[in-house]
């Protein structure tokens, strides 16, 4: 229940420039986004083979969103703060410090659970945004001589036949390094049109082993099922 004099207020972050909403705003990345609203999520299909960064019209590789530092990612966002009217600062002792971030290039928004400090609210909104970017932003994978990137190898079970021993122990969903691996896995699954069997083959796993990995994390399972359903396949249970 919010009192009437509060409102969500969009603000630039710490004076960082936020691009204005216009279609040309991301032109400097030379990319085009295809917008597929599907059950509330957005898929962006980009051809990774076009990604050489030296050419003038190189394609912005979405995977790089996750590689950005917090400040860099923040610069691509608009922040909404649950704000009460009034001058704030020393005048005020109130903690409506909920933070909502809108990632402008993708339109994805993430809201933080409320913490006791503003700083941590921002940090948890950013962490949620990273998870959503991994789940919702798709890159097309080049399947010719496919070899999985290290971040994907790290989340595979040890029995994968293509997983080199120097990869270390398997990284699970509670580790923040799981996100980039999960993103790479979803990219692969969506590129092979949702087939778990085909994906498993490319990763040196049995279909059963890959299914168990997918089902081990709710968010991952739901994202895989979104992909499968969009390709007319049955969801994994």
């Amino acid at each position: 229940m919010a009192s009437a004099n509060m409102l969500w207020n969009s603000a630039k972050i710490l004076g960082f420039p936020v691009p204005l909403a216009s279609n040309g705003r991301w032109a400097r990345f030379g990319c085009t986004f295809r917008h597929h609203p599907f059950e509330g999520s957005f898929f962006f299909n980009l051809l990774r083979s076009n990604c050489s960064s030296s050419t003038a019209n190189s394609v912005w590789n979405d995977k790089e969103y996750l590689a950005l530092s917090d400040e860099e990612l923040m610069r691509q966002c608009e922040m909404d703060t649950f704000k009460a009217s009034g001058p704030g600062g020393q005048h005020r002792n109130k903690r409506e410090s909920a933070v909502r971030l809108k990632h402008i290039p993708t339109g994805i928004t993430a809201q933080a659970v409320e913490d006791r400090s503003q700083h941590k609210n921002r940090a948890s909104a950013l962490a949620r945004l990273r998870a959503l970017l991994a789940l919702k932003v798709r890159n097309l994978v080049d399947l010719e001589d496919y070899s999985p990137p290290p971040e994907l190898l790290q989340i595979l079970p040890l029995k994968s036949t293509i997983r080199p021993p120097e990869c270390g122990p398997q990284i699970g969903p509670n580790n923040s390094k799981f996100l980039p691996g999960m993103q790479a896995l979803l990219d692969l699954i969506s590129t092979v049109d949702g087939s778990v069997a085909d994906t498993a083959k490319l990763l040196g796993l049995t279909t059963g082993a890959l299914s168990r990995l997918i089902l081990s994390d709710d968010a991952l399972r739901m994202a895989v099922n979104d992909i499968r359903m969009s390709k007319g396949m049955k969801p994994l249970k």
Binding site: T81, S97, E114
Partner: protein, 360 residues
């Protein structure tokens, strides 16, 4: 803890308002609730009873505080109540059990839980929260600020979320200019020590930070917080008015950061009760237009900073930010450069920042 007492503040021009003088207290700073030993034991049902009683009090408030002085509504009070439980219990799972679990499974209530405060005290504390509008942070004795948990008590300003950004500003400045990472940085009017501790950590040990305040209670609390974060070798506390206790570092400062009192005197009366009735007036009242201290800080920055040194001051908002920039451009022509107004997290212009020009 080093505490060089600068007696000079007694003659400083900014202490003439008698209301702003505070009696010095020799009492030791209080230990925040969450750090106290769990010396009390109670049945979970009895804690649950208190919790429901407090929630009923909260709902009786409705939006009446919002209507009188833009204070908290019952939603906010319920959130604070949860935080109080978090700080008061030893076993964190109690917080969730107080919600639905205990109602679904009354047997849970028979178990004993360990508390850091007696149950009678909990009743008294929440009564103070509602009847006297005593700030929540004074009740639990701490405030979560950035990634820190700072001890606070009556007599010390509760650090505000807006102020967190001053630390980020310093972080950005030293990223662009590594040389500024060294030398002396000052936090003027340090209160709980929030800014001093924040910037000391962001400067990563390169700089010496001097934190000053007029108030003995503030310095005692700041000292406690500095110790708790193990920064006593990097942060020095000095008592006195603004730059008075800093004459030995005149012209040598790499950075000056301050959140001085900036509320215009006329506005003090209408403040939210938690602020106006409980926080120290010396931390809030900035004189007739709220800028007495800010102007003084700017004037002296010109002689206290080293060439190329950085300053950042928090203000009451857009008007004060603009006035400060104009003042510096006109009254200190050519001395400062890169003057900027920076907004806070809700988009209100909040900080004026700049550099003293490098000597040519």
């Amino acid at each position: 803890m080093r505490l060089s007492i600068g007696r000079s503040y007694l003659v400083a021009p900014h202490c003439v308002k008698s209301s702003r003088l505070i009696s010095s207290s020799s009492s030791k700073p209080q230990i925040p609730l969450f750090l106290r030993p769990p010396n009390h034991s109670i049945k979970l049902t009895d804690l649950h009873k208190w919790y429901n009683w407090a929630k009923t009090l909260n709902s009786s408030v409705g939006s009446s505080f919002v209507d009188t002085d833009n204070g908290p509504d019952s939603t906010l009070l319920n959130r604070e109540l949860k935080w109080l439980v978090q700080d008061a219990v030893e076993d964190k799972s109690v917080s969730s059990e107080l919600g639905n679990e205990i109602e679904q499974n009354p047997k849970l209530g028979l178990r004993n839980v360990r508390l850091k405060v007696g149950i009678e005290e909990l009743y008294r504390l929440w009564k103070q929260r509602i009847d006297e509008r005593r700030p929540f942070q004074y009740i639990v004795g701490c405030e979560h600020w950035r990634d820190l948990i700072l001890s606070v008590e009556e007599g010390v300003l509760i650090p505000r979320p807006e102020t967190e950004a001053l630390v980020d500003l310093v972080g950005k400045v030293v990223l662009d200019n590594e040389a500024l990472r060294e030398g002396f940085w000052v936090d003027l009017g340090t209160g709980s020590g929030a800014i001093a501790i924040g910037i000391c950590r962001i400067l990563e040990g390169g700089a010496r930070v001097i934190a000053t305040d007029l108030s003995s209670i503030a310095l005692a609390v700041a000292g406690y917080n500095v110790q708790r974060y193990g920064l006593q070798d990097l942060i020095e506390l000095r008592q006195g008015s603004w730059y008075k206790p800093l004459q030995d570092v005149r012209g040598k400062l790499s950075g000056i950061i301050s959140n001085p009192p900036y509320i215009p005197s006329d506005n003090i009366f209408g403040l939210q009760a938690e602020v106006g009735k409980h926080e120290p007036i010396v931390a809030l009242d900035g004189g007739s237009n709220g800028m007495d201290d800010l102007i003084h800080l700017c004037d002296e920055a010109a002689v206290m900073l080293k060439p190329g040194g950085f300053f950042a001051f928090e203000t009451n908002g857009e008007d004060q930010c603009k006035l400060l920039v104009n003042y510096m451009e006109n009254n200190h022509k050519g001395r400062f450069c890169n003057l900027k107004i920076v907004s806070d997290f809700v988009g209100i212009p909040r900080f004026t920042t700049g550099f003293l020009k490098e000597a040519i």
